[in-house]
């Protein structure tokens, strides 16, 4: 645990604005999150007890069928309105409640079923709502909530005056279950210190010693299943206050706690390295790889305040935001069970007992933003946005390692002595992070209609992110450059050249932080032309220039040309279509751009010209790319009480200019169909179907292993022989189906919904020679073609949910609801294939948190009562 020194530098300012100063603690579509308070049984929040009004929309002219939105989609029939009760005090009120019992095979431990919902057996208050108002002075109070005591509960209170000041508060909890079948062997899960159980000694267990390995195997076998999850608990307050007809202000504060734990990593050194085909799981040449558990103990304070002005011609929004993140765990320390051995049997063993992570640091973020709009003649509008922000953290740094020195084969004693003693912050070039990123945004927009049927639009946007963080790994006392990577694992195993700039100044290490920054300038010109009264054609040209001083491509330019068309000219249809063509290209590809942060850029460097990477690889976020996106949406009113919709997207991203990296054509095609039928109030039927297919391709070259180089890749060096080139491709296919109905049989209303999701993702690969599938440098392993194969087992996901409610009215105020939900999931993921048996593989120790199938039936009986 660390000291929690929350800095509330902006508190006086936001408080002042609050005093000066529409919306709620939630549900502001312009700023902030928390726009919905709900859970799996009440996804939209609101009233759990409301049926459909049997009288429909209107009784005028003997009633009429449902209406359609302007685009041609059916409106729902309205819900029954709650009965309003009067009191002598002048207050009126209404309310409802639904409570009951949930049971069945609900306590399944499958993480997927419980990921974001609490389905535990037991009593359940599904929802309640109480509304009261005093019409003579327009005061009101509204209270809602659901699932008290459960991990997905929520509550909200709102009070105020209609069209006046409004106070609101909420509490919402969200579970996030990662795994229920994890089997960590450590004590202290959920804390910042993971220690091995009794009987195990850190840094000693190795396959080279059957007895010590057996002890570890026994500990793994005895480890109990543990649930790894994070609970988000958020409370919020907000006040909205109109200050005259044109000005209003708001202030909100939210406090979110995140508590729990999640699967995490923890490596000391490769375990795959140096193994041989005859000894594929490694023996005598052993590393240490741990999947650990990260403690989550976060608190975030968010302050949001603003003023909003709406004048005849001018509109202005001023928003001030502060976000203060605090992590109660500065570090995670764990005991490593493995002895690392890179030599002969029982020789050259290294015993790093402990590793330590620096966990996410406390950080602050502030932002001030002004949005302005001014109405202009010709139905015009000018908009401007000015925004400035800062993200910063000044965490006290940890020592470069928790271990006191290098203790391994391959490090000369004299040098080992020199680089020992990095378990103190005295070797740091500074004691605190002093990290900061400043952001600036200026955005100007103009739209005008110089002709009755023509609207022109222009936009200019400038965004700059300036990283002010500078850090160099130099001991100020000795001038030694470097750090003991992997808690001495790197210099210990591979020699001092890995991590420390050597005495001969001949090795290349990364020792200065890279201040990743970028500047983006976007200009847009567009026009919309009214072809007819009901049809519009639009065209937009946009150029986006990005400068990234410390990326492989310094300057990229992307031109986008988009055409859009929409029409309501057909009697029963609305069609919206768009096509965009984009071309991104960049300046020279600087594959060695990071050299300036490496010792090879120093004047005293004496080593060979370093090879950073395969020069022909193009990182996909910067690579030259041509992209086409076609969108189509078609609404069709089949009948007065029936509508249909078709939508599709075709997206093609062409990386043909890249030889390696993401290559070729990346495709994403989606087709969606929907049908809705609303024959009468209380009755509706729907179905929808979506299919989506995606492909992606990539290429790379396995670098040559010493002694096996066959040829040089043109323009580079012999490290990347073309014979070792390989490609891989992903094909993703998804089908989703939904259908359901609501029908009032008189004696009961039945509502049932079914959804089916089926996905398969296939990862295949191809190579010229089996050497491409050789595990890399320094190894003796070569996979044969038969061993390597050509693809992974399909990654599959199938989920079916059938949810049915039967509502049986008892009297005017009450009803019984019988609830059933069947949910079935099957998932297969090759990342976890084989981990079910034992999470200990060689000197790799995993949590065994494999994704699980489940088949669950949930039953509930609930009593509804309208007060």
């Amino acid at each position: 645990m660390k000291n929690r020194q929350t800095k509330f530098a902006l508190l006086p300012l936001v408080a002042m604005l609050a005093v000066m100063g529409s919306g709620r603690a939630y549900a502001d579509s312009a700023v902030g999150v928390d726009t919905v308070l709900g859970n799996v049984l009440l996804p939209g929040g609101g009233d759990a007890v409301r049926g459909t009004d049997p009288q429909g929309f209107s009784l005028v002219m003997g009633g009429k069928g449902p209406s359609h939105t302007p685009s041609g989609q059916l409106y729902l029939y309205p819900m029954l309105t709650p009965a309003v009760n009067a009191t002598d005090s002048g207050w009126t009120w209404s309310g409802s409640i639904e409570a009951g019992y949930l049971g069945g095979r609900v306590d399944t431990r499958a993480a997927g079923f419980r990921e974001y919902a609490d389905w535990r057996n037991g009593a359940l208050l599904t929802g309640f709502e109480l509304s009261a108002e005093r019409p003579d002075n327009a005061l009101y109070v509204d209270v809602q909530g659901s699932a008290p005591g459960r991990d997905d509960q929520f509550f909200r209170v709102e009070a105020g005056r209609y069209n006046g000041v409004k106070f609101s508060a909420f509490y919402s909890q969200t579970p996030h279950v990662f795994a229920t079948n994890a089997r960590p062997i450590w004590n202290g899960v959920g804390t910042g210190s993971l220690t091995l159980p009794a009987g195990l000694v850190a840094g000693t267990h190795t396959q080279a010693d059957a007895a010590s390995y057996a002890a570890l195997q026994a500990a793994v076998a005895n480890a109990g299943e543990t649930t790894l999850n994070i609970d988000r608990k958020k409370v919020g307050l907000r006040v909205d206050a109109p200050m005259g007809e044109r000005l209003n202000g708001f202030f909100s504060y939210t406090n979110e706690r995140r508590e729990g734990e999640r699967p995490f990593g923890g490596g000391f050194i490769f375990d795959f390295i140096r193994r041989s085909a005859s000894n594929p799981v490694g023996f005598n040449v052993l590393g240490a790889v741990n999947e650990t558990v990260e403690p989550i103990d976060y608190t975030t304070h968010e302050f949001l305040s603003g003023l909003r002005y709406v004048g005849d011609k001018d509109r202005l929004n001023l928003t001030v935001a502060a976000s203060l993140f605090r992590n109660d765990n500065a570090s995670l320390t764990w005991e490593n069970p493995f002895s690392i051995n890179f030599g002969a049997v029982n020789a050259n063993a290294s015993t790093w007992e402990t590793g330590r992570f620096a966990l996410n640091p406390d950080n602050d973020a502030y932002n001030v933003k002004v949005d302005y709009a001014r109405m202009l003649p010709m139905q015009g509008q000018f908009t401007a946005v000015l925004s400035t922000g800062r993200m910063s953290q000044d965490e006290r740094l940890l020592p470069p390692t928790i271990n006191d020195g290098v203790n391994a084969f391959g490090v000369p004693a004299s040098y080992a002595a020199l680089i020992n003693g990095y378990d103190t912050t005295r070797v740091l070039s500074r004691q605190r992070a002093d990290a900061r990123i400043d952001t600036r945004l200026a955005d100007f927009g103009l739209s005008l209609s110089p002709l009755q049927d023509l609207t022109v639009r222009a936009k200019l946007r400038y965004y700059d992110e300036d990283n002010r963080t500078r850090y160099a790994a130099i001991d100020p006392n000795t001038g030694i450059i470097g750090y003991p990577g992997l808690d001495y694992g790197l210099p210990g195993v591979f020699g001092a050249n890995f991590g420390f700039y050597n005495a001969a100044r001949s090795n290349n290490i990364h020792y200065i932080s890279i201040p990743t920054s970028y500047t983006k300038l976007t200009g847009t010109l567009g026009a919309d032309y009214q072809l007819t009264r009901l049809s519009q054609l639009g065209a937009t040209f946009e150029r986006e220039e990005t400068e990234r001083p410390y990326r492989e491509v310094k300057d990229t330019v992307e031109d986008r040309l988009k055409f859009a068309f929409n029409t309501r000219a057909f009697d029963r249809s609305t069609v919206r279509a768009s096509y965009e063509y984009a071309d991104r290209r960049g300046s020279e590809y600087r594959y060695d751009i990071y050299e300036q942060f490496y010792t090879s850029s120093r004047d005293d460097y004496t080593g060979p010209t370093p090879i950073h990477t395969l020069a022909e690889l193009r990182k996909f976020d910067l690579a030259d790319r041509r992209q086409q996106v076609l969108n189509l949406r078609w609404n069709y009113m089949l009948r007065e009480d029936m509508d249909a919709m078709l939508s599709m997207q075709h997206k093609l991203s062409d990386y043909s200019a890249s030889d390696y990296g993401r290559i070729g054509e990346e495709r994403l095609d989606s087709l969606n169909l929907e049908w809705t039928y609303v024959p009468a109030p209380g009755s509706s039927f729907f179905t929808w179907y979506s299919v989506q297919a995606a492909t992606q391709k990539q290429g790379n070259i396995n670098q040559g292993v010493a002694g096996t180089r066959v040829s040089s890749h043109a323009g580079v060096d012999a490290m990347y022989p073309l014979e070792n080139a390989w490609t891989a491709g992903m094909r993703d296919l998804n089908h989703a189906l939904g259908l359901g109905f609501t029908y009032d049989f008189g004696w009961a209303r039945v509502e049932s919904r079914y959804s089916y999701m089926w996905s398969v993702s296939r990862q295949s690969y191809d190579y010229v020679t089996a050497e491409a599938a050789t595990v890399g440098s320094g190894t003796n392993e070569t996979q044969s073609a038969a061993m390597a194969g050509t693809e992974f087992a399909d990654m599959r996901y199938r989920q079916q949910v059938l949810e049915t409610s039967v509502l049986r009215p008892l009297d005017k105020h009450s009803a019984l609801r019988f609830f059933h939900r069947w949910e079935k999931r099957n998932v297969a993921d090759w990342h976890y294939t084989g981990l079910d048996g034992s999470p200990l593989i060689g000197q790799k120790l995993y949590l065994g948190a494999t994704p699980e199938d489940y088949n669950v039936n949930v039953f509930g009986v609930f009593w509804q009562y309208s007060l």
């Binding site: 312009a30 996410n360 940890l398 996901y797």
Partner: protein, 338 residues
């Protein structure tokens, strides 16, 4: 001067040009009408008749409408004369509708598809000119201009011809908030964005189907200064709204992470873990091919149950060792190991 300086200078020049160019328009704004009231057409000669007259026929509508925010505000604490008009604040003066032909909805302002049928020339025979989204939106913006909708004009939804009543139904309370046309924000969005509905059902997804988030947590459907209608200056700043721990900044940054979360994650759903676009280690290998272990082809033989199990494939894959992939604050964390 580096390009950053040139860009700033360019922006300054561009801004100057823009401001100089539109200065006459800004000065002439005195002639501009408030909101888009000019787009609202009323039936010629129609007069306001008061809400009581409307309710004489529209009892059922009133039963539903009375529980909406609009009704409460207009009836209990109206802010201005427009709100005091009740039904006619939105539907316009109702005398001709009430007196001449109550079946003819063209004599009042109407908000549905049925009221703006194509093929009929509206507004030229003295009716209310129900021409669809233009008029509908103008009516709503009489009160709702500015605030969260300051960027409505020229936004993606506005320029695609959407009307406020494509998403909202102010005549009854269907949703807990916002007078949505369905019972939730997300269901309302899905009614057009069906692709996203499917994507949110994939193996890894944000908790929208479970009711713990809505589309409006990330997007402002009423317009924003970004093309995807984001509620923050950039995608990453939006993601930091919930994932503040990823904000850093860190001593050692991972460049593509700092620039765009979407380089590795797809926000609406993925068949991979953690909303990843591509399975690890292949995702990492689309950028990393340094001369150690990064560019080796990993195969099915390297799975935990394969012939040669390899930590670069199993479980968290590369992130087992490079655990702090979003950035490291450890003095020895240059490779995101610590």
């Amino acid at each position: 001067m580096n390009i950053r300086g040139r860009v700033r200078a360019g922006v300054a020049r561009a801004l100057t040009c823009v401001l100089v160019g539109i200065a006459p328009l800004m000065l002439a704004a005195g002639t501009a009408g408030a909101a888009d009231t000019g787009a609202i057409g009323f039936a010629a000669g129609a007069e306001y008749i008061g809400e009581e007259r409307c309710l004489a026929c529209h009892k059922n509508e009133n039963d539903n409408y009375s529980h909406t925010t609009h009704a409460k505000a207009f009836r209990l604490n109206p802010r201005n004369d427009l709100e005091r008009k009740g039904c006619e604040a939105c539907h316009g003066p109702g005398s001709r509708h009430a007196n001449e032909n109550y079946a003819d909805k063209s004599l009042i302002v109407s908000f549905t598809r049925e009221a703006s049928k194509p093929g009929e020339i509206r507004g030229e025979r003295g009716d209310a000119g129900n021409n669809g989204p233009v008029q509908i939106n103008a009516v709503c913006l009489q009160c709702h201009d500015g605030n969260q909708r300051i960027f409505w004009r020229a936004s993606a939804h506005q320029s695609n011809g959407l009307a406020c009543t494509d998403c909202h139904n102010p005549m009854a309370k269907f949703s807990a908030d916002g007078l949505q046309k369905t019972n939730s924000i997300s269901e309302t969005c899905y009614s057009c964005h069906q692709q996203q509905r499917m994507e949110f059902r994939k193996r890894s997804h944000m908790p929208l189907p479970e009711g713990k988030m809505s589309c409006a947590d990330c997007h402002n459907p009423h317009g924003s200064q970004t093309k995807p209608l984001l509620k923050a200056d950039t995608l990453n700043q939006l993601c930091y709204s919930c994932h503040q721990e990823k904000r850093g900044p860190f001593l050692w940054e991972h460049a593509p992470v700092r620039e765009s979360c979407a380089n590795c994650h797809t926000p609406h759903g993925s068949n991979q873990e953690k909303l990843l676009t591509t399975p690890r280690p292949f995702l990492c290998q689309q950028c990393h091919t340094h001369t150690t272990h990064q560019n080796n082809l990993l195969t099915q033989a390297n799975t935990a149950g394969g012939a040669v199990p390899d930590e670069r494939v199993i479980a968290r894959s590369c992130s087992t060792c490079h655990a702090q992939i979003h950035g490291s604050n450890h003095p020895s964390g240059v490779r995101m190991h610590r």
